[in-house]
């Protein structure tokens, strides 16, 4: 038998201040980034929202010899558009729809209301920017000229149009509301199966993970698109799953080792499930890492969000969920976080913690 992490005795809860400190630091950095960027006039927004959320323009291009998607994307990258959606037209193989987000510095109205008509100037700007990018493949057949009448031309822009946001503020708000309601469901169920303190720990850990992911997206200005919503939903699920596995072990150990302190039991439970935590998290994170490295540019937002979020989900269970649950129990007088416990106190505390935590017997 090949075993990882047997007989580990790491004092996780003893390092809780360090963990929480690191988390708060990163979140503060994210907050400063978001607020700072939003308030800097003429600067970038708090988040780098993609076409899905902001709308933009769609440019239809007819090529003489259509370059590969990757080449077109690289050309657009060079003129500063790195979030284009390329949709090739399968019925007309030489044509391509290029959707680009709103370009910067176009007045306040557009960002405030994504469904508002995007001004003609914006569409014109999109057209000229795409033209600048595509000119690397050869000249455009301009004006009345077509690809047939202009033998030197490599492509022609045959249409430009503004498009509204697919996922307007409505979908974004709905996603936030749905997730919050989902968290309330989680809170109630964990409170029912375990205890309010544990429910609070798990849900705060979920918020921690989502906020941290958003902090990363703001700091590094990764593009936020529809796929990020899917990633965040996944992160919530994974984070709660991880928390429950450890809570479950704490509950079991509380029933079996009545005279140990909750502090020790929690540390033991984390250590006992450590091999499971490392194997599961390791496998999932490695799979997502392969998606980050080889999954291509379009999926990068999705895979980066998953990578950051799933790693944090694992970390927050140990560093956030458990300490908060224990800290609250301590406030309720049900557990003592201090490492050294007077023997007579220990007995009293353990029974109190059982009342609170292991109210329900372990179901077999």
């Amino acid at each position: 038998m090949f075993n990882l992490f047997q007989n580990i005795h790491i004092d996780w809860l003893g390092k809780r201040r360090l963990f929480i400190g690191i988390s708060i630091l990163i979140m503060l950095a994210g907050l400063i980034s978001a607020v700072g960027r939003q308030l800097t006039p003429g600067g970038t927004d708090a988040f780098n929202l993609g076409v899905d959320f902001k709308g933009g323009s769609v440019v239809t291009v007819k090529f003489r010899n259509k370059p590969a998607d990757a080449e077109i994307r690289a050309a657009l990258d060079n003129v500063g558009i790195n979030e284009a959606i390329l949709q090739s037209s399968t019925s007309r193989p030489d044509e391509m729809l290029i959707r680009i987000p709103l370009l910067e510095n176009t007045g306040e109205g557009d960002a405030a209301n994504p469904n508002a008509d995007i001004s003609k100037a914006q569409v014109e700007k999109g057209r000229s920017t795409v033209k600048r990018a595509l000119d690397t493949f050869g000249p455009e057949a301009e004006g009345e000229a077509t690809l047939d009448t202009a033998p030197n031309a490599a492509y022609k822009i045959i249409g430009t149009d503004s498009v509204g946001a697919i996922a307007g503020s409505q979908l974004r708000n709905q996603a936030v509301t749905a997730t919050l309601l989902g968290c309330i469901g989680i809170l109630l169920f964990i409170a029912f199966r375990y205890d309010w303190t544990y429910a609070a720990g798990a849900v705060i850990a979920v918020f921690h993970d989502v906020l941290m992911v958003l902090a990363f997206f703001s700091i590094f200005q990764w593009e936020v698109n529809l796929t990020v919503i899917a990633a965040i939903l996944t992160i919530v699920g994974f984070s709660v799953n991880d928390s429950i596995v450890i809570f479950d072990r704490i509950r079991e150990n509380l029933a079996a080792h009545r005279h140990d302190s909750l502090f020790k039991i929690t540390n033991d439970s984390i250590n006992q499930t450590l091999s499971r935590t490392v194997i599961t998290a390791g496998l999932v994170i490695l799979s997502v890492l392969s998606l980050v490295l080889f999954g291509g540019e379009v999926l990068r937002s999705f895979s980066l969000a998953l990578l950051v979020g799933l790693t944090l989900g694992c970390y927050s269970t140990i560093a956030i969920a458990s300490p908060i649950a224990i800290w609250w129990q301590d406030k309720l007088g049900a557990a003592d976080v201090k490492e050294t416990l007077a023997p007579q106190r220990k007995e009293k505390m353990a029974s109190a913690s059982r009342r609170s935590v292991a109210r329900r017997p372990v179901t077999r």
Partner: protein
Amino acid sequence: MKNRGLWIRTAIIVVILLGGIYLVFGPRHTPTGADFTWQGIKNNLAENVHLGLDLKGGSHLVMRVQVEKYLKTLTENDREAALNAAKEAKDADGNPLPVVDASSVAENGNYQINLNVSDPSHNQEITDAVTKRVDLRDWNQSASGNTISWSLSSQAQVRLGESAVDQALKIIEGRINKFGVTEPTLQRQGASNLHQILLQMPGVEDPERVKTLIGSESHLYLMKVADNSDPGRPFPTKEAAIQALGGTIPPNRVVLPLTERDTNKQTQPNQAPDKWLILETPAIVDGSELRDASPSSRTGSDYNIDFHLKPAGAQAFGEWTGKSVGKYLAVVLNDEVKSAPVIKGQIFDQGQIEGKFTKESADDLALTLKSGALPAPIEYTEERTVGPSLGADSIRSGVSASLGGLALVIVFMLFYYRGAGINAVLALILNMILTIAALIMIGSTLTLPGIAGLILGIGMAVDSNVLIFERIREEIRLGIGIAESIKLGFERAFVTIIDTHVTTIISSLILYVTGSGPIRGFAVTLILGLLINLFTAVFVSRTIFNWELARNPDMQRLSI
């Protein structure tokens, strides 16, 4: 029989597995030899799993709501209503008001209704009579000489146009959704005065049918057949019918063809109808009184459309049928008499359109009858099929990266858990097949958020196996024997697995109920994946362990 319970468990697993394999890889047509080749299986898989617009692409239609036609119809309807109101009104002495006729202008952004009167002194009374009966709030009234005019201001035109486009968007959305296209992209495109709507539909095999469905208007009328027209001996031509009416069609009559063939069938040669009937107007009941319409068939080939009427329509229909026993009723669909049954007794709220329809056209007709009429006709300004919005290149790299990740998981499980790793890998593969089978069964469309749900489901499936195996290892280390360790390991890990799964299912149900589109796609695949995982990771994996124990009850070492 020895191991009876085990055999039953195995039989359940095999039946479910075969069902899953058929749903995912099996053909939906009569199987041929080709379905058992590698290529055939791939084709069937591609046909069975409906991929969304982001993964597969589909049809891209830009349509324009012909708002000017909407305003024209509005002008003409209001003109008729205004004229009728003015003609029916009486002055203080009970005499008719001096109204001659009405005309209207509806072109070049100019919409105007003119009422011509013979004596301007009654203008105020006429205006009052008209505005009392007809809602002309959007119109600006003016009068000069013998003409009272109402015209639409440009602001009112913009407002009415906008509401027509919004209404069209809603009706199209309803039709598309009922048509079974899941997760289409429907949005306004271009400047608002272009009145354009962009529709992208994932992998729709027959965009023509969707186009017909979106654009088609279905009008149903239940009308009286005139006494001088016998459906048993219809007129051979329209002219013959007009002849019978004395050369001209009076205002309260229409002449329509009686045709049983299905005009929606494109394959039918277009022949001139040879049966004509004279009907009385106005209709007893029209399509706006429909409560419900659905296709039905007694033989399985020729379809009819059953309909139910709303209370007001049923009232009018019941009154007429009650006093018209022995007379003929005409069921008129899109200006064609579909059938002209004789009334045998009073009917209230139900009826049937007989028409030898195909299943498809009966479905489409029922749908357009139910979803209501578009406010204005639409025209298609652009039509193309497009590749996936995520880009074919990135999907290819995404798929290979995911398969790489999965291979990594499988190799690790086999390396770390040895014999038990085979259990886990079998359970994992079964989980994926059954989850996709379940998606196919409920007719869901797989999009990227759906795949995210699938990934989380698979992640939790791996986690379940790891939880169980780690627990069994712990119990073995305590030295309580292999059989007991397996039993305890499953039992203890099961508590954890239930808790994690139920929590996630609860939150996903909330996502499903409160979310839409992509969020629902995520929730559905995740819920299915987790329910199936309870079966594969616990039931299936346990059954495999039990077989090992049954073969070797005194097992001293377990490969885990």
